[in-house]
Symmetry: C2
Subunit: 459 residues, 2 copies
C-alpha cells in the first residue's frame, strides 16, 4: 500500500504570495484577498479537492533590505499589503466541514495568555480543525514597529519560544480538567471550580498565575506546525511540532533535513513518523506537456526582477542592488548569503548562479521545486519526492490564485486518487484525528506537551 | 419627525452574559457560544429585525473578588469561560449584508501596530461594518496573567490609551494615501511607494517607525466606541468616540452623563449630537402584561445570588461575602463601593439597599433598567428614555439567549417601526455611513482623528 500523501494549499492573506510580479497576470485574483467571498470560495474548492488543509503564512514586517527601502516590495506587492490571517478562519470554517486550517502566528509580539485564548477559540469554532504554525518573527522591520531596536538573537528566540509553549501547554492541557465543565442545568452548576486550576507559571520570560479563560476545546492544544530549518529550529520542531513545513529544491537536499528531524524526534522519545513533514511544491500543470511548458513560459514573463530581489533580500539579509545582475553569488561576501543560499546552490552545486538567475528561480516556487507538465508528470514527481525525500505531504504553492489550485483539483487530484496516494474522502474528527487516526483528538502520549495534561489535578 | 433610535444587541462570547444564573433556564442556549452556527443564526435574526449592530463585550480576567476566589464565577459561568470575540466576526459577516459589529478589545495587552492590523483586516472583510469598543482592562486578575503585578492606575491607563489611539490614527489615516494602491496590471504597479508613508512615531509609550501593513480599508478607522463613565473616561470619549456605551437605572441619572459627554464633545469642537450614545436596556416582553410579569418572576427564580455577587465584586472591588445578605450597603465602608454603587442608590435615593436586593437588581439587567410588559409598554419606555435621557439608542441585553432577541425582533420591532422610531430597512454603505449618512465613510472633519489624514503626504 502506498504511503498516504497529505495536501495543504499554501497561501497568505496578501497579494501574490510567493510569486513576485505574477499578481499582474490577467488571470490572477490574489488581490481579492480582502474579500471574504474569495476565501470562502477557495476553502470550498480545496474541500472539493479533498485537500487536508489550507496553510496560511504570515509576516509582520516588510521586505526593506533591497535598495534599503520597501519600494520594490510595495510596488510589486511582495507580501505587502498583508492582513491578519486568524480573522479569516471562522468564515471559511462555516463554509466547509472537513478542511483544516494551519495558521502562522508569531509568538514574538503576543503574550501566551492571549494567544492561548485565540487558538482555543478557533479550535472551538472550527470543531477542532485548527493548527498553529509556531514562528518567531525574522524581520527587523517587524521588531522595530513593536518598539524594539532589533529582533532577539536567533537562539534567544527559541528559548523564549520554549517557555511560551510551556505556558500554552499548561493553559491548554493542564488548567481545566476533562470533566470540569458540567453544564448541569438541574443542579445549576456550570463548571466545577475544583477542577479548574491556576497554572502558577513563574518563569524567566513569563509570569502567568491564573487559569485558562477557555473551557477545553476539541483538541485542547491545536495541531502544532513548525518551520525552522536551523539546527536549533529542528530541535524545537522535534520537541513541539506534529507537522513540519520545510522547503528545498531537490529531494536529496530536503531528505537531509528530514532525516535530522526524524532522528531528533526519536531522541525525544517520539516515533520518527509521528512528525508529518510537508515540503513546498509548485506545480504548473497542462493537459499536455506542451501546454504546461507554454504556460510556464508565459508565467515567467510576469516575474518581477525587483520584486524577487526584495523577497530574496528579506530572506538572506543581502541587498542585491549593490551587485550587477550578472554577478555570480560567489562574489557576494556575506556569511548570511552563503548560508541562506546554500539551499539554492547545493541543488546544483556545479552551477554558477548569477543574481539574475537566482531572482528567476525565486520568482516562481520560492525555495522549492517547480514541476511543469501533465497531471501524470506532476503526480510522478510528487510520488518521487515522497519516496526520495521521505516527506509526508506538500504545501502546494500557487502561481496564479485561485487558478493554480483549480487546475490542481481538477487535473492532478483525480490522478493522485486513482493511484491511491491521497484520500478519496475525509476521515471524521478533528485535525489531529485526520492525521493520526480516529480517537487521537489530543496530543500523543509521546509528545512533550502531554506531560502537562492533568498536571495540576488533585490526584 | 421622531429621532431615530439605534439598536444594538448586547452580547459576549461567553455563557450567560449579564444575568448570572440564567444560563440554567431550560430555554437558554447561551452555552452554545462555542458553535459558529449559534452566532450565525443570531446575526441573521438581528438582521431580520433591522438591528444596527451586534455589540460584543469582553473581559480578559475572571471575577475573583467575591470570597477571594473565582469559585462562584466558575460555578455560575459568570463571564467565564470567555472566548475571543474578534474571531467570530468573519463568519457572521459572511452570513449578513448590513448588520454591523462592535467589538470590545482591550488596548492594555496589545501593541497598536498589531491592533491596527486586526481592525483594518476586519474592516476589509466586513466591507466596513466594524467598530472597535476601546477599553483598557479593569480587572487585576487580567493584569496578573500578563505578568504585571497589578493594572496601571486609572488615569495612567488613559494616558497610554491616548497615545495608543494616536499611533492607530497615524497608521489608519496617515500612512497610506487614498490613491496609493493602483492595482495597475498593465503597468505592473500594485502600490505607488511614494504614497505610502512611514509614521515615525516616537512617543512616551510606543515607538512605531514604519508604515501600516494594510492598504486603506473601507472606513480606514473603524467606528469608535467607548464606555468610560469617569470624568477622565468621558473626556477620552468626547475626543475619540463616535459612539458611547453607557448604563444607568434611570433616565435622569443617565442624562447627567449624557449632558456631560455632549458638553465635552462641544468643547472639542464637535457637534454634540455627533456622539451617538447607547444605554443598556433589558426588556422582558409578553403578549400581555400578565404574561410578561409571569415570565419575569420565573426568570428571577433562576438568578444566582453567588453569581450576582461575583459580578458585583468585580465591578466594585468589594467582597460582599464578608457581610450579611440583609446588611444595607451603607454599612460597607469602602470608597470604591460608595462611588461604584452610587449608580444604584441614586436611582432610588430614599431606599436602603440590602446586599440581597443589590444582587437581585444586578442579577437581571446589570446596571440598566429592566422593563417588563407588552411590546407597547417596552416601546413606550424606550421612547421615554430617548426623550428624557437624550440617548440615541440602546444596547439590548438578553435574559435568555437567543430567546430574548427573538421576542424583541418579533414583538417589539414591528411596534417601533410602526411608530417611525427605528429603521424599516438598512441604509447602504459602511457602519459610519449608516450612522452619519451616505458619503461619511471616514471620520468626520471635526473628529480628532481627522488631523492624521494625509499627515505625512508630500504637499
Amino acid at each position: 500500500m502506498n504511503k498516504r500523501i497529505y495536501l495543504n494549499a499554501f497561501d497568505m492573506n496578501t497579494v501574490g504570495h510567493q510569486s513576485p510580479g505574477l499578481w499582474s497576470h490577467p488571470e490572477d485574483q490574489s488581490d481579492r484577498y480582502k474579500e471574504l467571498n474569495y476565501w470562502v470560495e477557495l476553502a470550498k474548492l480545496l474541500e472539493k479537492g479533498k485537500f487536508d488543509g489550507l496553510f496560511l503564512a504570515d509576516v509582520l514586517g516588510v521586505y526593506d533590505i533591497h535598495r534599503g527601502n520597501s519600494d520594490a516590495a510595495l510596488e510589486q506587492a511582495v507580501q505587502v499589503p498583508a492582513n491578519d490571517p486568524l480573522l479569516l478562519i471562522s468564515a471559511m470554517s462555516q463554509a466547509t466541514k472537513h478542511l483544516c486550517f494551519g495558521v502562522t502566528y508569531s509568538l514574538t509580539y503576543e503574550h501566551p495568555y492571549m494567544l492561548a485564548r485565540r487558538f482555543s477559540t478557533l479550535d472551538h469554532l472550527t470543531n477542532g480543525r485548527v493548527a498553529w504554525n509556531i514562528v518567531s518573527s525574522y524581520l527587523d522591520s517587524a521588531a522595530k514597529n513593536f518598539g524594539l531596536s532589533e529582533q532577539l538573537k536567533h537562539d534567544d528566540r527559541y528559548e523564549v519560544a520554549d517557555e511560551f509553549l510551556e505556558v500554552c501547554y499548561k493553559l491548554w492541557e493542564g488548567s481545566w480538567e476533562e470533566d470540569a465543565v458540567l453544564r448541569d442545568k438541574n443542579n445549576r452548576i456550570f463548571t466545577d471550580p475544583r477542577k479548574v486550576h491556576d497554572i502558577n507559571h513563574d518563569g524567566k520570560f513569563f509570569k502567568v498565575p491564573g487559569a485558562h479563560l477557555c473551557e477545553p476545546s476539541p483538541q485542547r492544544t491545536p495541531v502544532l506546525y513548525q518551520a525552522g530549518a536551523s539546527s536549533r529550529g529542528r530541535a524545537f520542531a522535534a520537541k513541539h511540532a506534529e507537522c513540519v513545513f520545510t522547503a528545498g529544491p531537490s529531494p536529496t537536499l530536503v531528505k537531509k533535513g528530514v532525516d535530522d528531524l526524524r532522528k531528533k524526534a526519536k531522541e525525544q522519545g517520539r516515533e520518527p513518523e509521528d512528525l508529518k513533514i510537508f515540503t513546498v511544491f509548485t506545480p504548473i500543470v497542462g493537459e499536455t506537456a506542451e501546454e504546461a511548458e507554454q504556460k510556464y513560459e508565459e508565467l515567467k514573463s510576469y516575474i518581477s526582477y525587483e520584486g524577487a530581489l526584495a523577497l530574496l533580500g528579506g530572506w538572506t539579509g543581502v541587498d542585491f542592488s549593490k551587485y550587477n545582475p550578472d554577478d555570480t553569488v560567489e562574489y557576494i561576501e556575506s556569511n548570511s548569503i552563503q548560508s541562506a543560499l546554500e539551499l539554492f546552490t547545493k541543488a546544483d552545486p556545479n552551477r554558477k548562479w548569477t543574481i539574475r538567475e537566482l531572482a528567476a528561480f525565486a520568482g516562481i516556487g520560492g525555495r522549492g521545486p517547480v514541476v511543469v507538465g501533465t497531471p501524470e508528470k506532476i503526480a510522478d514527481e510528487m510520488e518521487k519526492w515522497v519516496k526520495e525525500a521521505d516527506v509526508d505531504g506538500f504545501n502546494i504553492a500557487y502561481t496564479l490564485a485561485p487558478g493554480s489550485f483549480k487546475d490542481f483539483v481538477e487535473l492532478v487530484v483525480p490522478i493522485l486518487q486513482a493511484r491511491g496516494l491521497i484520500q478519496n474522502d475525509y476521515q471524521a474528527g478533528t485535525y489531529r484525528e485526520k492525521i493520526y487516526g480516529h480517537g487521537q483528538k489530543y496530543l500523543k502520549e509521546s509528545h512533550h506537551g502531554h506531560i502537562y495534561k492533568n498536571l495540576f489535578s488533585v490526584k
